[in-house]
Symmetry: C2
Subunit: 297 residues, 2 copies
């Protein structure tokens, strides 16, 4: 497995690896890899000739007071995991390599970024758009792989890719969960044992929402209320947001909308804080197929 | 010469043309080509294996009330000129091909776009950034060629290219002028005979600025005042802006700055309206070399 720490080295090594028209699968990450990242790497390994992983904690997508300084890192373990998934090349730039000076350019994706994490974390998706644009130009992947835990990020990146005509296919991976349901996240390491136990409420509330959503008379507002009540049952949980939106447009759904009459895919997305640790989770509800309503994506 | 009107056709034809690792030189334009565009095509022909021209009147870089609807077009003449310059492929998309739906993504370049045409035409450079980003991704050029008449555009595109790590070398071409000095522009066609005669004041005022700039005691403010007075000597000229800025940073220069003490390259840029027609011109002053101060770029 090749490790590149500079852009010049990345370009040289990639040029050799992809020669003869080989396809390149790219998994961009902020490191501290878990099974969710591994599932994306394995998916890329199945489909692409060359698998590239990037590890870069992108300062531009963190706001003031967020956890940039304490974001967990473990390069040695990340490299071992990447290698075990059949990764060919890891791009591990330092900050000065990605941002030799403060960038003047920003990539804004309007509409999609005004809700959910975009509302809670102003500027977050500008930073994501910028770094993903940079990485797409540096790696020129055939396919790029993103996890659905960050469902809004997936919608944003798909839109940016289409609007800017990046010649990249966006492939998504399902949310990977702990046995008790907690969605894997690099940030789970921040949780105290008590918080970790309570954090299962995120996935449990979404599972309950799946069961409730087709009840006659269940509305958008009713489902949100039920999810909020379930989460508030956990003593230390502080809700950032619980929203029900169309997906991937992230357009709002009227509160009084009966869900069994909705013929579009929607998402229930939530962000919950335990102490200083902010966790997100979501579930997609496919109402386009009639009979398959509320089935797991 | 190949003519492509769809993205799919462009990609297919380009794939064949560039096979074997040929370099691609790209000249993006809004058509109604003149000798300035031709000089860029010939420059590309000298340096690159494959020369690609795009002609697309990009609606996203026009503001409300600007001349989008009456922007001059002459496809037949453009194609003949492109062919005579040795162009290999012309990309001529319709609007629906470039913008199948209203784009949610915008590319903003801050700092550089807050003065000159960026101030006079709000949103103009967001539209330029978006379409150039799209075209770079569609054409993947080795080099892209831009004329220095749009000096601010060159600064903006160089910054965007570096910030987003586009793997494209930006090559600039000098301003091409009519025998009397008027900078070539597709918009010159709008001028009435009287306006056309008066429009020579733009280039003449810049030539006079070149002569005056090293006079002992000449300040930034003094030079701007002299240029404004020269332009106002033309009866129908209405000044939009006359500015003296560092180039390419476009940072301001204090009004009382003695120019013969300035050890940086600066630009005098102007925009002047004749009736509804807005013309721009500029001159670069290279003060980095000591003796070569105020020499033509």
């Amino acid at each position: 497995m090749i490790i590149c720490r500079t852009i010049a080295d990345l370009k040289e090594k990639l040029h050799t690896l992809r020669s003869g028209g080989k396809s390149v699968g790219f998994v961009p990450t902020m490191g501290y890899l878990h099974e969710g990242h591994a599932s994306l790497l394995r998916k890329a390994r199945e489909r692409d000739d060359v698998v590239v992983l990037s590890i870069f904690v992108n300062p531009m997508q963190f706001g003031p007071g967020e956890d940039l300084d304490r974001y967990p890192r473990n390069e040695e373990r990340d490299l071992a995991l990447a290698e075990s998934c059949g990764c060919d090349l890891v791009f591990l730039p330092v900050q000065e390599e990605m941002y030799p000076s403060r960038p003047l350019t920003s990539v804004k994706i309007s509409g999609l970024t005004e809700r959910l994490c975009g509302a809670s974390r102003p500027g977050h998706f500008d930073g994501v758009g910028l770094v993903v644009g940079k990485l797409f130009n540096l790696v020129s992947p055939t396919r790029a792989y993103f996890g659905m835990k960050d469902a809004q990020q997936v919608a944003v990146i798909k839109t940016m890719t289409a609007d800017l005509n990046f010649d990249v296919e966006i492939v998504t991976g399902e949310i990977v969960r702990e046995p008790d349901g907690l969605a894997l996240s690099s940030r789970n390491v921040y949780l105290s044992p008590v918080q970790r136990e309570q954090a299962v409420v995120l996935s449990r509330s979404l599972r309950e929402a799946k069961e409730m959503c087709m009840k006659p008379g269940m509305t958008s507002g009713g489902l949100i209320k039920a999810v909020r009540e379930a989460i508030n049952g956990a003593q230390d949980a502080v809700i950032d947001y619980v929203e029900l939106l169309l997906y991937p447009s992230l357009e709002p759904v009227p509160e009084d909308q009966p869900l069994n009459e909705l013929r579009e895919t929607f998402i229930v997305a939530l962000a919950v804080k335990f102490g200083t640790t902010r966790l997100i989770d979501n579930a997609l509800f496919d109402h386009t197929g009639g009979e398959s309503a509320c089935s797991e994506q």
